[in-house]
């Protein structure tokens, strides 16, 4: 009896899930590219591999001191920001529509780059004696 009930519940849940999928589910991310055509790689490759490119370059730069690339373009996070920062907010993060968040919130992938890195383009830092 209990087993039949569980089967029924599972079937109902599956039906609900397929209905949601048919209705579109979560809205697809809207990616606004401020300066199209200037990227270091085609959009498809960037979407799939940007994290690997950045990870590779960050280790090279921090641990070995490599700045830029000898040939071609290096995956520089500051380079990404300068090009992709929103023209309204000057930042790549900070809202659902932001360049990074639009996809990252859709894919539920946590972003922690901006805990340490400056997300605003052309930012001039200030300081005071601690």
């Amino acid at each position: 009896m209990l087993r039949t009930l569980l089967h029924l519940i599972a079937a109902a849940a599956l039906a609900a899930a397929s209905l949601a999928a048919q209705a579109g589910g979560v809205p697809k991310p809207v990616v606004k590219i401020e300066n199209p055509g200037k990227c270091i790689a085609p959009a498809d490759e960037m979407r799939r591999n940007h994290m690997e490119m950045l990870k590779h370059q960050r280790d090279l730069t921090l641990r070995e001191g490599v700045r830029g690339a000898a040939a071609g373009k290096a995956a520089s996070l500051n380079g990404c920001i300068e090009c992709h920062a929103s023209k309204q907010t000057g930042s790549v993060t900070g809202g659902k529509e932001s360049f990074c968040e639009s996809c990252h919130s859709y894919a539920a992938v946590k972003l922690d780059c901006w805990d340490c890195h400056q997300p605003k383009a052309g930012y001039k830092a200030t300081g005071a004696k601690p």
Partner: protein
Amino acid sequence: MSHNKRRSFLVASAAGLGTVALGVAVAPGIRLIEVSHANPVRPAGQPASSAVRWGMLVDTTRCATGCDDCVKACAAENGINETVADKRQGAQWIRKIDIKEAKTGRQHSLPMMCQHCANPPCVDVCPTGASMKRADGIVLVDRHVCIGCRYCMMACPYKARSFVHQPLSGQNPEVPRGLGCVESCTLCVHRVDKGQQPACVESCTTAGHNALLFGDLNDPNSEISRRAAAAATSQIRADLKLNTGVRYQGI
């Protein structure tokens, strides 16, 4: 030696031959090669070289009590602008300390920061490999790997490291720093890689104090090496045999 390393060595040697050929005399006793060696700009794509050992010489006889130009310049350059709830949690990239010889009463004022040891204890104790020494002798924290355990803060005999206790914003784009990581003086690695001097050295020189000198300890012709060869300089806690990159004159 891996294929890659051998290749970069050959490229570097070829580049070296090229610069030697270009060593033109710009004045009696000074050739262009020596001037460029003072702080060469590394070409894009080339890693830091172990032929260089960046260091600093602090002339305590020129360092005035109460002057904190270097501390202010460091904060401005590295975007240190947060207010901490507890003063003991403040950033310790560079600080001024006043010391007094108990017997004679002789007083000194000097800046204290990461000493960029050749054998850094912070690197020894780091459980994740975040604390690291670059090929050119600059000791850094890789915040991508730092878990904030603060073991390195315990290990450092100079109390040169600090922990970020609060979320930060307003960082210098070239100097990322944030909550949950240990940090310390980077010898302004982002400036050094561009052929500039660290911010503290530049401010000390601009203000006319000339108490700080930055340069390559491995190059016998650099000003820092010549000064270190001519005058008595010392390492703080030399007994620990850490071979510090920051040397002090006059204490």
